[in-house]
Amino acid sequence: MTLLLQALINGLMTGALIAVPAIGFSAIFAVLRYPNFAIASYATIGAFAAWWANAVAGLPVIPALAIAFAVTGVVGVVAEETALKRLRDNGALIVAIASIALNLVLENIVRFIFGNDMKGYDLPLARDLRFGELRIGPQQLQSLALSVVIMAAMFLFLRYTRFGKAMRAVADNPDLARLKGIDPARIAIVTVFLGAGLSGVGGVLIGLDTSIDPLTGYRVLLSVFAAAVLGGLGSIPGAVVGALALGIAEELALIAVPATYRTAVGFVAILIMLTFRPRGILGERAT
């Protein structure tokens, strides 16, 4: 019983961390209608920007997160405008392929500057909190709180601000949004800034727990995809639900299979979901 409960808690914690980049991926997918593989490198760039701010410049975690958000947001917009934007007319698959190439370029810029070595954040050591038999790391708890705050901010943004409403309008029906005078180019830029920024923050949150290297983002990519597909491709609440479901599924599966197969759980979950309910938990249509 304790084992199950502990798995459930761990699952919700990792799920909440995956949810942040998954929201970024889903936002870009919802507005621009293509799967952006470059979010892997955005997560890596965010992780390294925050590492620099934290371990080199000596800033605490929260300002480092803000720096990571701003840096990856700007990198994302510049990359989108130079490498991907002009391909949008050629169809989603071409943009997706270009985003893979873009990911390779950005990942290797990080590798060129920082090398392949693992890097750790400069964090105070603290003992695990214990509740009876259950254990929770204080760092994980802080990351969980941060991701909840970030998600809440994102929902408030989408619900109440002009740009948030315009984003939802474009996601819902681009033609109708244009008729209403919403400029799709501006919305695209805001969306990419947010999506890339959230991916960057997600890279930090995931890196805080362990260590980071140029492949940090790529390792998260499959979980992000799995979360997005489980929740329903293009749905932002779906990305959160999918990420939590994936986190729990991973932890429960790891009771039975070796820990090295963690990413495979997401893959199997995608296949099962696509076979029985392709539109995902909260998605609209998949065909």
Partner: protein, 304 residues
């Protein structure tokens, strides 16, 4: 020097088969396979394990073809009815899972140690130099045969139906084409060709490990097919040869750069691949050898 040229040309042939595989599915029915490296690995391991258990090399290659096709069907069965982006995501995940299996199922794949001593056909009889030449000839011959068959397929009614599906699958379905069946068959055949390429690679290297099947290979092949021309088997083959030459050229070019760490040189080479793919997509998306669309056959006029 000669052995380097022979080695590179053999690698060109192996990549050409991968490019033909991708071109069949992408240029044919308009689907993308981001898990090419996974199918490549499946074929390599299938043949290495089968011949390791005592089967002759040809049986190993046959096994690779069959296993590749079956795995291709399993991976795509859930996704082919859905939008194309789902297949892209699933195939990417598939390649990663294959790498995990190769790393962890030591009883089958020997894990990260890899499988060594894979049978090299006729090596004892031909000697080292003779074997490399013979193998280059064999790989080139297989590329030619597969190329000719796929070209024939492109011009056949089957190939025309595939391209109709690529252009507008609803219209193709309306015209009575079994869209799902075409997609499944094309994907299985494409996966089998990628697996065959992997098998050829395994017996060429005589050693394979999970490190040989990085996702980077998939990007090389995408660059090859886009540069050569999507939808044209000749373009795919040409693109593969150009990509291997480009890869080797970046190796020599980066050696001349002073003051760089080895990891920085490796990073620069990978960057060049990514930049090249983005540039091709922007500047010449139709490739060096653009697809030729045959004219519709003339309708017999009603008065004749």
């Amino acid at each position: 020097m000669l052995s380097y040229v022979i080695f590179t040309l053999t690698l060109c042939g192996i990549y050409a088969l991968l490019a033909l595989s991708l071109n069949l599915i992408w240029g044919g029915v308009g689907l993308v396979n981001l898990g090419l490296a996974g199918f490549f690995a499946v074929g390599a391991y299938a043949s290495a394990i089968a011949t390791g258990a005592g089967a002759p090399v040809l049986i190993g290659w046959g096994a690779a073809l069959v296993v590749g096709a079956v795995v291709g069907l399993v991976v795509t069965f859930a996704t082919l009815r859905l939008r194309d982006d789902y297949l892209a995501i699933v195939t990417l995940g598939f390649a990663e899972v294959i790498r995990l299996v190769a790393l962890n199922e030591r009883w089958l794949t020997k894990g990260s140690d890899g499988i060594s001593g894979i049978k090299a056909p006729l090596k004892a009889e031909l000697g080292l130099q003779g074997f490399s030449l013979f193998y280059l000839g064999l790989v080139t011959l297989i590329v030619l045969v597969v190329w000719a068959l796929l070209r024939r397929l492109d011009l056949s009614p089957y190939g025309r139906a595939m391209k109709a599906i690529r252009e507008d699958q609803q219209l193709a379905a309306f015209a009575g084409k079994a869209v799902l069946r075409f997609k499944l068959q094309a994907f299985a055949l494409s996966a089998a060709i990628a697996a065959l390429s992997g098998a050829l690679y395994a017996h060429f290297q005589s050693y394979i490990s999970p490190d040989h099947f990085q996702p980077l290979i998939t990007i090389y092949i995408f660059l090859a097919v886009t540069a050569g021309g999507v939808g044209r088997p000749s373009g795919a083959v040409l693109g593969a040869y150009l990509v291997v030459i480009f890869l080797e050229a970046t190796r020599f070019a980066t050696e001349w750069l002073p003051g760089l760490q080895p990891v920085q040189i490796a990073a620069m080479r990978e960057m060049m691949i990514g930049v090249a793919l983005i540039l091709v997509l922007h500047l010449r998306p139709q490739g060096i050898m653009p697809e030729r669309i045959p004219k519709a056959p003339r309708q017999p006029s009603p008065t004749a």
